[in-house]
């Protein structure tokens, strides 16, 4: 989610944010700066971090300068994203920067609040070099978080008196955002104490769990797909996790799950191949979705062979085989596709694949499947493939 969207949510939970306006054109940036009436900062709204380093956060003393800077920023390419939206904000007078965030701790299997009296930098680096500077506290998921707990946490970051009450409210709001929005991570970095002793969230980060999208229809989910490459988008729309791997890769990988996909990838490397991609079918594979999965993998530039490592657990081998032969019927596929498939309805699935002469591994290992595929690929390209 963009900073501007996260901040709007933070504000509605009582977390103070700087005065700001959005701008999609240089004129709007100028108007925004006039409205704010002080020095402003223009921040490009993109999904990836590290904006300061990328040079897409700029300060303007006058509305005309804001307009000129907006002209430079809008349309700029940053990490594969095009800047289309700016946040024009009052420039805050910073006396101190802190870090405050909540994330899931896989070891504790609980969310944890993380605070640090030194913010504005790479918190992971601080955590590694000076673990003593990090304050951590797990959240109990079955008990509502209380104001007094928030106050006691913020006390450990050095707040007291009237300012502690303000700081406690901010954390209390942040915890509520974390739970209400199914967040996996929320962050304020930096949390700023101004020269006037006000506490304000100068940035926002809100990462929402994809699996909860049905509960949050108003969030900008479709934007997640905006910066994907066409093939990645096609796979995502069909509901498959799909990764493009090495640019010089020439083996397509379809795995029945992420784990087996990882292991198949390793095995292909072991046999001298270079994986081009990896697609995880997951569960709920229909004939159409299986065909789509194979098409996406075959369409990847440079693919000279495909290994499909499939299981009929929640899926059905007969249906998966149907999807595979549908592709063979529809397209002129002239590269080897080795299928290793076992599980529910395997006999029917095997029979169908054998009818279409698809190289098949029934009881053998992934090693055998990889070895067979590499042999077939080498035979077909008769030494044209440089094998590492």
């Amino acid at each position: 989610m963009y900073e501007i969207e996260g901040k709007a949510i933070f504000k509605s939970y009582g977390i103070p944010i700087p005065r700001g306006e959005k701008a999609t054109t240089p004129e709007e940036a100028k108007e925004a700066a006039e409205k704010i009436g002080s020095e402003v900062v223009l921040k490009a709204q993109i999904s990836s971090g590290g904006r300061g380093k990328a040079g897409v956060v700029k300060f303007a003393k006058t509305p005309d300068e804001a307009k000129a800077l907006a002209e430079q920023l809008l349309g700029k390419e940053v990490k594969g994203e095009t800047v289309k939206l700016l946040l024009v904000e009052e420039k805050i007078n910073i006396a101190k920067e802190l870090y405050l965030g909540i994330t899931l701790d896989p070891e504790l299997q609980k969310p944890v609040i993380i605070g640090c009296a030194e913010g504005g930098m790479d918190i992971e680096e601080v955590a590694e070099k000076h673990p003593e500077k990090i304050v951590k506290q797990p959240l109990e998921v079955l008990k509502p978080f209380k104001i007094h707990q928030a106050n006691d946490f913020m006390r450990q970051l050095g707040f007291h008196g009237k300012q502690l009450v303000q700081a406690g409210k901010i954390l209390y709001g942040l915890v509520r955002v974390y739970f209400d929005y199914d967040a996996t991570t929320v962050e304020i970095n930096p949390l700023v104490i101004t020269g006037d002793n006000e506490i304000i969230a100068a940035d926002s980060k809100l990462v929402v769990d994809d699996s909860s999208s049905y509960r949050h229809p108003d969030l900008p989910w479709e934007r997640l797909n905006e910066n994907l490459k066409p093939l990645e988008k096609e796979a995502k729309e069909a509901g498959f996790p799909f990764v493009l791997l090495e640019n010089n890769g020439y083996i397509g990988i379809i795995g029945g799950g992420a784990g087996v996909g990882l292991a198949t990838m390793d095995t292909i490397y072991h046999h001298g191949g270079i994986p081009a991609n990896f697609l995880d079918t997951g569960g709920g594979v229909t004939r159409e979705r299986m065909a789509k999965a194979l098409e996406v993998v075959l369409k990847t530039p440079g693919v000279k062979g495909v290994i499909a490592n499939l299981f009929g657990g929640i899926n059905n081998c007969a249906i998966m085989a149907q999807g595979i032969v549908d592709v063979l019927e529809k397209h002129k596929v002239d590269i080897p596709i080795v299928v290793k498939m076992r599980g529910h309805h395997q006999e029917e699935g095997w029979k169908l694949l054998e009818k279409y002469n698809v190289p098949l591994i029934k009881y053998g290992s992934t090693d055998e499947a990889a070895e067979l595929l590499m042999k077939l690929v080498r035979e077909r390209s008769a030494g044209n493939v440089s094998v590492g």
């Binding site: 896989p106 079955l142 049905y214 509960r215 095995t267 299981f311």
Partner: protein
């Protein structure tokens, strides 16, 4: 013995009237699992492959007091409520197959289960099987075989893969547990290892790990701390995964040299685990150490 599941496991299937629920009811029955009842609110009074369906878990338990396990196969939005119903009605073992359960719901389920002393397996799991005895899950029974190796894996497909390779090499399994591929799981790998510790049928354990997270590191710590009495074998997937590419499992991502396959393998070795570089090597190691029980090889493999 085996762990958690055996001939005396009596199952209720929540979501039995759904597409997956009904299909897997049939497959469970074909595996001779004792499926006593099903629950789908609003479908009480119907039957699925001869299994009576009730509106609530409480009613199913009134009619079948022996039920001691639930298999949850409902779509993600219904999982939290279904799991709460199973846990709060005192079912001691709850297996959640569903993928894409919101992690905040899983957190609630996990910690509610802790309060009730319930063992939850999953979500996003194939479930659990004690080959030849029973299963509470969606795995194809015939690629598993009865023997004395315990299997623990986050990845469902890797559980199929390794267990079937063991089977085809004449090495059977006592119980295979898919703990689930999500960042939060009910039963953890360490807890699964603890269960295997006191099971006489389990002579050795296979841990199937993957890059990301700290599962394997925690297992290594536990083995050292308890001076674990049984040999543990391990295979880690993603040894050659390009850095920083997310490979599907939430958490299967490597950052700043943490959670790499190499560091995990090293850590496990230090704890006395026999770590294989490849899946084939894993099977060979176990075979070489004499764990095969050839008579368990499935008849249909000619």
């Amino acid at each position: 013995m085996s762990v958690l599941v055996d001939e005396n496991t009596k199952v209720v299937i929540q979501g039995i009237t759904g597409k997956h629920g009904s299909h897997h009811t049939k497959l469970m029955l074909e595996y001779n699992a004792k499926v006593l009842a099903g629950v789908t609110p609003g479908k009480g009074g119907s039957e699925v492959y001869g299994v009576p369906v009730y509106d609530t878990v409480k009613e199913a338990l009134e009619q079948h007091p022996d039920i001691n396990a639930s298999l949850i196969m409902v779509p993600p939005p219904g999982v939290l409520s279904a799991a709460e119903e199973a846990i709060e009605n005192g079912i001691p073992l709850v297996v959640i197959v569903t993928e894409h359960v919101p992690v905040h719901d899983t957190l609630k389920i996990k910690w509610l289960a802790k309060e009730y002393g319930t063992i939850v397996i999953g979500p996003n799991t194939i479930g659990i099987i004690s080959p030849g005895k029973s299963k509470v899950g969606i795995m194809p029974g015939y690629i598993y075989s009865q023997g004395n190796i315990g299997v623990i894996s986050r990845s469902g497909t890797m559980t199929h893969e390794i267990s079937s390779n063991l089977t085809y090499n004449g090495i059977g399994q006592s119980t295979c547990i898919g703990i689930g591929g999500d960042p939060v799981n009910g039963l953890t790998a360490v807890e699964a290892l603890e269960l295997f510790k006191d099971d006489d049928e389990t002579k050795a354990i296979v841990l199937i790990g993957e890059i990301g997270g700290s599962n394997e590191e925690l297992v290594a710590e536990y083995i050292e701390k308890t001076n674990y009495p049984k040999q543990v074998y391990a295979f880690i997937g993603g040894q050659l995964a390009p850095q920083g590419k997310r490979m599907g499992h939430a958490g299967a991502i490597v950052q700043k040299g943490k959670g790499t396959a190499a560091s995990k393998m090293e850590r496990l070795k230090k704890a006395g685990v026999k770590v294989a570089k490849t899946m084939d090597e894993l099977v060979n190691m176990i075979k070489t150490d004499g764990y095969g029980n050839v008579e368990t090889i499935q008849k249909h493999i000619s």
